[in-house]
């Protein structure tokens, strides 16, 4: 609510910015209190959580970045040295890190029958 609107507001409307801070605390919903907690822990959190970033992460599920060309060229360059290993958080790796075949989990079909059928 900007200052311009103050004179057109009716008596019924609550103006949070006019309340004393102590009273304001009591009015905060549990959801807003949780939001404040989250923002305190992650100050760099964007203001549009439901927007592009979150949705794009959802759409990218399953994306693996292993390029055999990159891998072999890197191996050739570095020769005896070790390739940089993967960070523990392996979900969206691009850029500096060159994935190795060991980084990608083995995907084998389930050869065992479901335990529900046991």
């Amino acid at each position: 609510m900007s200052g311009d609107n103050e004179d057109t507001q009716t008596a019924d409307e609550t103006t949070l910015d006019e309340k004393a801070p102590e009273v304001q605390d009591k009015v905060i919903s549990p959801e807003k209190a949780e939001e404040a907690k989250l923002k305190a822990r992650y100050p760099n959190l964007g203001n549009k959580p439901g927007g592009s970033d979150l949705l794009r992460k959802r759409l990218q599920k399953g994306q693996k970045y292993f390029d055999s060309g990159d891998y072999n060229m890197a191996k050739a360059k570095i020769k005896n040295k070790q390739l940089p290993t993967a960070a523990p958080e392996k979900t969206e790796i691009t850029g500096d890190h060159i994935p190795t075949p060991q980084d990608l989990p083995q995907r084998k079909p389930s050869l065992v029958a479901s335990k529900l059928a046991g």
Binding site: S29, E34, E35, K37, G50, R107
Partner: protein, 454 residues
């Protein structure tokens, strides 16, 4: 919206329903292999068959064996009927994309002949499976021995007619159709049309219409992909055909809206016929508002007059004739509203709970955490919280209602919010189409409960 304050009823919804343990399927050990995580549960149209799909791409079908129905307290047991590997993990080399074998949804086709048919889907491919019984085998071939070896034709001196002799029942599952390469994004829903000829499949941004007989093409009927992906604001979360009107379907979004579309209006149903959205108080808006309003499931009522949606904290019933607000709202676990910060950090806020109707649309059910599940009796305005656990698994043991204490003094038998196990989620539940029999999936076990007086 009519916010119904429901009174917890010790005798359960309807007053006369008492839920009892019937069966539990799956391993007892706590060490759960990822492949064993149940990802979908679905009764067929008669309720005789119950299918489950798991993260390992396997389908298990149970069949109801009806014991003495004339007895007053007859128990119908579900036993394994068929099990098969529906999907396998794949790797799309062109897109560098790993495709999980997890079965996202199973939908049964209404039975037309002796065989049963179901559609099962993972993120990218839908398959039509035929499940048929074989209880006879041929014997007495002229040219073959019993073990299959071919006879020397010179030794054959007479002809006979082979006969069919009875054999032990064998249930075979065979893939009859594979509907592939039509989805760029991940499939979240499939729905068979009431015309029994077509079905829809929905991914995050598009919905396709298929003919059950044709696998090499499908029609795109909804496309919400923006020209510039930077402008993406919402995705499709679920879709379903109307149970009777073959031209009507709905799809829900991550922003809490539901769009009803009429396929007669145009080939591409980007323009909805109806938009269902509950107005939000902007002063209540928080960082979490959009995330918790995302609809994880949408289901039409059997009578086709209502639809139910599930978002993170509630279940809403909508009258198809009223777009501006739901007619009923039920709080599933409102006490979690003051835990949203931790639920965001541990990703639980993104859990996708499903919901279901009972046969006559009078009661709705959905899952929660700590292996709790909730039932809301619409008519009697009663609700109950029950638990699926091995501790309450004595045959025909009546389930005791559970209560979560949100704060303040915890009564005896109540459980405090902080003691809830958020790893024990009930995401998938199903209700028998006619009887009071329910299937509830915990992480890797399938529980079957029955009403005492069925």
């Amino acid at each position: 919206t009519l916010e119904l304050t429901v009174r917890a009823s010790p005798t359960g919804p309807g007053g006369d329903m008492q839920w009892c343990f019937s069966q539990v399927k799956g391993a007892i050990d706590d060490d759960v292999a990822e492949a064993d995580i149940i990802s979908t549960v679905e009764f067929n149209h008669t309720g005789e068959l119950l299918a489950t799909g798991d993260k390992g791409g396997r389908v298990v079908i149970f069949q109801q064996e009806i014991e003495n129905k004339s007895q007053p307290q007859f128990r119908s047991e579900y036993n394994v009927y068929s099990t098969f590997q529906s999907h396998e993990p794949e790797f799309d080399y062109l897109k560098s994309l790993e495709i999980e074998e997890k079965i996202n949804k199973i939908r049964w086709l209404p039975q037309k002949n002796a065989a049963q048919f179901l559609l099962s889907t993972n993120d990218k491919t839908i398959k039509l499976w035929k499940i048929s019984e074989r209880d006879k085998r041929p014997e007495g071939y002229n040219l073959k021995e019993e073990d299959g070896r071919y006879k020397d034709p010179n030794t054959i001196t007479s002809l006979r007619v082979p006969v069919l002799i009875p054999m032990d029942l064998m249930v075979e599952a065979s893939p009859r159709r594979v509907f592939a390469n039509a989805h760029t994004y991940h499939i979240n829903s499939i729905s068979v049309n009431s015309d029994n000829e077509t079905y829809l499949s929905a991914d995050d941004l598009r919905i396709n219409l298929w003919h059950l007989e044709i696998t090499d093409r499908s029609f795109n009927i909804v496309d919400i992909k923006p020209a510039n992906m930077e402008e993406l604001t919402e995705v499709i979360t679920a879709a379903e055909f109307h149970p009777h009107q073959c031209n009507t379907f709905v799809y829900s979004s991550s922003k809490g809206t539901i769009r009803l579309c009429d396929m007669r209006a145009s080939a591409l149903c980007d323009k909805h016929s109806k938009l269902f959205e509950e107005p939000e108080d902007p002063s209540n808006r928080s960082f979490f508002s959009e995330i918790i309003s995302s609809i994880s499931d949408v289901k039409f009522s059997h009578n086709g007059r209502y639809m139910m949606t599930r978002d993170y904290l509630s279940v809403k019933i909508w009258d198809l004739n009223m777009e501006n607000r739901p007619v009923e709202t039920y709080q599933v676990h409102e006490y979690l509203r003051s835990k949203l910060c931790s639920l965001y950090e541990n990703d639980c806020i993104f859990d996708k709970f499903e919901c279901c109707w009972n046969g006559n649309d009078s009661v709705v059910m959905t899952g929660s955490y700590n292996n709790f599940f909730r039932m809301f009796d619409r008519g009697h305005r009663r609700d109950v919280t029950l638990e699926a656990s091995r501790e309450n698994s004595k045959p025909m043991q009546v389930l005791k209602p559970r209560k979560v204490c949100a704060g303040g003094k915890r009564k005896k038998d109540e459980i405090s919010v902080d003691s809830l196990d958020f790893n024990k989620k009930i995401l998938h539940t199903a209700w028998h189409p006619q009887d009071n029999i329910i299937a509830v999936a915990t992480t890797n076990n399938l529980y079957i409960f029955q009403d005492k007086v069925n």
